[in-house]
């Protein structure tokens, strides 16, 4: 029973590869630095299927935000450059797309919400003005119509008495309300992809849950995909369908979320999960991953995690592992991991 289900899912996944909303292939982003060129994103491949939430986790500086900025065409200029790889959105190549065309997609097809709702609203405009501007950047409609859309959207994201709040100044709203406004601004044009970069980090825990609920609700309603970027494992466990773990510019492990949490395969992923306090066994000392993230201008030749890994072998220090398929633990979908431990298994192409 489980076998057929699994095979079906795998076939679906194969078929969906063609229909992926976003297909990032071998993405490499370079920056100049004082100690030579660095690659904050190095050979990253990701797929986001329609209606799916992909979690991208990693610590600060692992390249997760850079990946999303590359996707938006918003790498810091003039230094950040896409050196190699391709980003396809609905089959359309985004790498090398002109400024005007890229701008036409931003906010309309791909939207982004940022970490800090306190500062992502312009203090000199009312919330309505900002939503109206987002609408009018793409649609030739009158202010009154745009305003109606803004009110409608504010209502949709759960802001009470939206007709009144549309004229409110950002500083009059609480953090949770502001993040709702930010979400309204991002979703008012019904984009097919929402990039949420640490959407709840700056919020209280109870508000976090509300915002995530709202995002999930809107995602289902609008049939959009979400790229959820965070360093919070709990967040992806709750919200992501699939999860990719990034470390020093590389993806180390990618799997359906249940699988990743049920059977974490890469030593780094296991380390991350071990460092989270659990409800049971509070007396246990929390484990930390020893060592430090390698500097991007001074990466080890082999596996990037080698010098912090307790399973490190000679081979790990010399040669970087490709993706291997991790043994399944029941959940469905491809589980690939960049670690020599899984070398005996067949490689994922």
């Amino acid at each position: 029973m489980r076998d057929t289900e699994e095979r079906n899912t795998e076939r679906n996944t194969e078929r969906n590869k063609e229909q992926a909303l976003v297909a990032i292939e071998g993405l490499r982003v370079s920056f100049p630095s004082l100690r030579g060129k660095i690659w904050p994103v190095d050979d990253v491949s990701l797929r986001i299927l329609p209606g799916e939430t992909l979690g991208l986790v990693g610590e600060s500086g692992s390249g997760k935000s850079m990946t999303s900025l590359a996707l938006m065409g918003l790498l810091p200029r003039p230094h950040g450059k896409i050196e190699a790889g391709s980003i396809k959105f609905r089959g359309r190549e985004l790498v090398g797309l002109g400024d005007a065309e890229m701008r036409g997609m931003r906010g309309k097809d791909i939207s982004m919400i940022f970490q800090d709702p306190m500062t992502s609203l312009n203090p000199v405009y009312t919330v309505g003005d900002q939503i109206i501007e987002a609408v009018r950047a793409h649609e030739r409609i009158t202010r009154a119509e745009a305003r109606r859309k803004a009110v409608e959207m504010l209502d949709r994201v759960g802001i009470p008495s939206p007709e009144k709040r549309v004229d409110a100044w950002p500083h009059l709203l609480s953090g949770g309300m502001r993040q709702r406004v930010v979400i309204a601004m991002a979703l008012v044009l019904r984009p097919t992809l929402l990039i949420a970069d640490e959407p709840t980090t700056a919020l209280d825990v109870t508000i976090q849950a509300q915002i995530l609920c709202l995002m999930e609700d809107l995602k289902r309603d609008f049939g959009m995909s979400v790229l959820l970027i965070t360093h919070n494992m709990g967040l992806v466990a709750e919200n992501a369908d699939r999860t990719a773990v990034m470390y020093a510019g590389r993806i180390l492990e990618e799997a359906p979320t249940k699988e990743l949490f049920g059977a974490p395969s890469h030593p780094y992923t296991r380390g991350l999960l071990d460092s989270i306090p659990r409800m049971r066994g509070m007396d246990r000392e929390l484990k930390a991953i020893p060592g430090m993230v390698p500097a991007l201008h001074d990466l080890p030749p082999g596996c990037r995690f080698a010098n912090r890994c307790s399973f490190c072998e000679a081979r790990c220090r010399i040669e970087e592992p490709p993706f291997f398929s991790a043994p399944r633990q029941g959940a469905s979908g491809v589980h690939s991991v960049r670690c020599w431990q899984f070398c005996e298994e067949r490689t994922v192409n």
Binding site: L74, R77, R103, E133, M185
Partner: protein, 278 residues
């Protein structure tokens, strides 16, 4: 400390009051001055203040009070012109240089070169090239203040461009020009206003200096600088020719400075905290 702040507030209030008075005087000049400022009356030349002539008369018998009153018009127009010219152009250049990094090197080095000249000298050179006249003088002095405004706006733009709401605006597909015009510039209005009040104050001095050197507004037009220039020969015999226009300049510059201080304190809370912390 408390007392000092209180005192400064009162003095500043006087500054605002004087500016308001000056505006009224400038607007109502024809009603205040019974004698037109150009009317020559050689019989009554060099009359001391008091009597028929409130501020006395000059060497041509012109009413000093009328000339001071009409001079207020000239000065305020000149100052406003300089502020308008340097602020509009300065904000434009500074914001463009700060936001569109490709233009940065060119624009800012050009501004640096202009800053290398002593301001008054640069204004003198420009007036010599352009010729006398209100508009030319405004342009000449305006250019020297332009550089300061550009610097201030440029620095502010560099800071504001990194704000998350700018990123959010870009991410929602707003055009680069609209980002600058609608998001960057409105967020630095308060420092620009403060800068403008100081520009106004200092430009009055420069305008007067140009007049005094005979390179400003044509002598027939009543201006405080021209009055000083013409009256300086009579320093010992008729000091009122210098006292009234001179006092007007001092009072006006001081008032605008005080107003600028208070505006800065009010509009820039961070700076206020720093000042009060000392």
């Amino acid at each position: 400390m408390r007392f000092g702040f209180f005192l400064r507030r009162k003095v500043a209030l006087a500054g605002f009051f004087f500016i308001a008075l000056l505006l009224v005087v400038a607007v109502a000049a024809p009603f205040l001055a019974r004698i037109p400022p150009q009317t020559l009356n050689p019989v009554d030349k060099l009359q001391p203040p008091g009597g028929a002539y409130l501020f006395g008369t000059d060497n041509f018998g012109r009413d000093v009070f009328s000339r001071v009153v009409y001079g207020a018009r000239t000065s305020l127009t000149g100052g406003a012109g300089v502020v308008l010219f340097s602020t509009v152009l300065g904000v434009l250049i500074g914001a463009v240089a700060g936001y569109f990094r490709r233009t940065e090197a060119w624009l800012m080095r050009l501004v640096d070169v202009m800053m290398a000249f002593p301001p008054l000298l640069l204004a003198l050179v420009l007036v010599s090239i352009l010729g006398r006249g209100m508009v030319n003088v405004i342009v000449a002095v305006g250019v020297t203040y332009l550089t300061r405004t550009v610097r201030v706006v440029y620095a502010l733009t560099l800071r504001i461009r990194e704000e998350p709401y700018i990123e959010a605006a870009i991410a929602s597909g707003v055009r680069p020009f609209d980002v600058v015009a609608r998001h960057v510039i409105p967020n630095m209005l308060s420092p620009i206003i403060v800068q403008a009040t100081f520009t106004f104050a200092f430009s009055l001095l420069d305008l007067a200096a140009l007049d005094f050197l005979g390179l400003g507004i044509p002598p027939a037009v009543p201006s405080w600088g021209n009055m000083l220039s013409e009256g300086r020969m009579y320093l010992t015999r008729a000091p009122w020719l210098l006292i009234f226009p001179g006092a007007s300049i001092v009072m006006t510059v001081l008032s605008f400075n005080l107003a600028g201080d208070v505006l800065r304190d009010r509009l820039d809370p961070q700076l206020r905290r720093k000042v009060e912390g000392v």
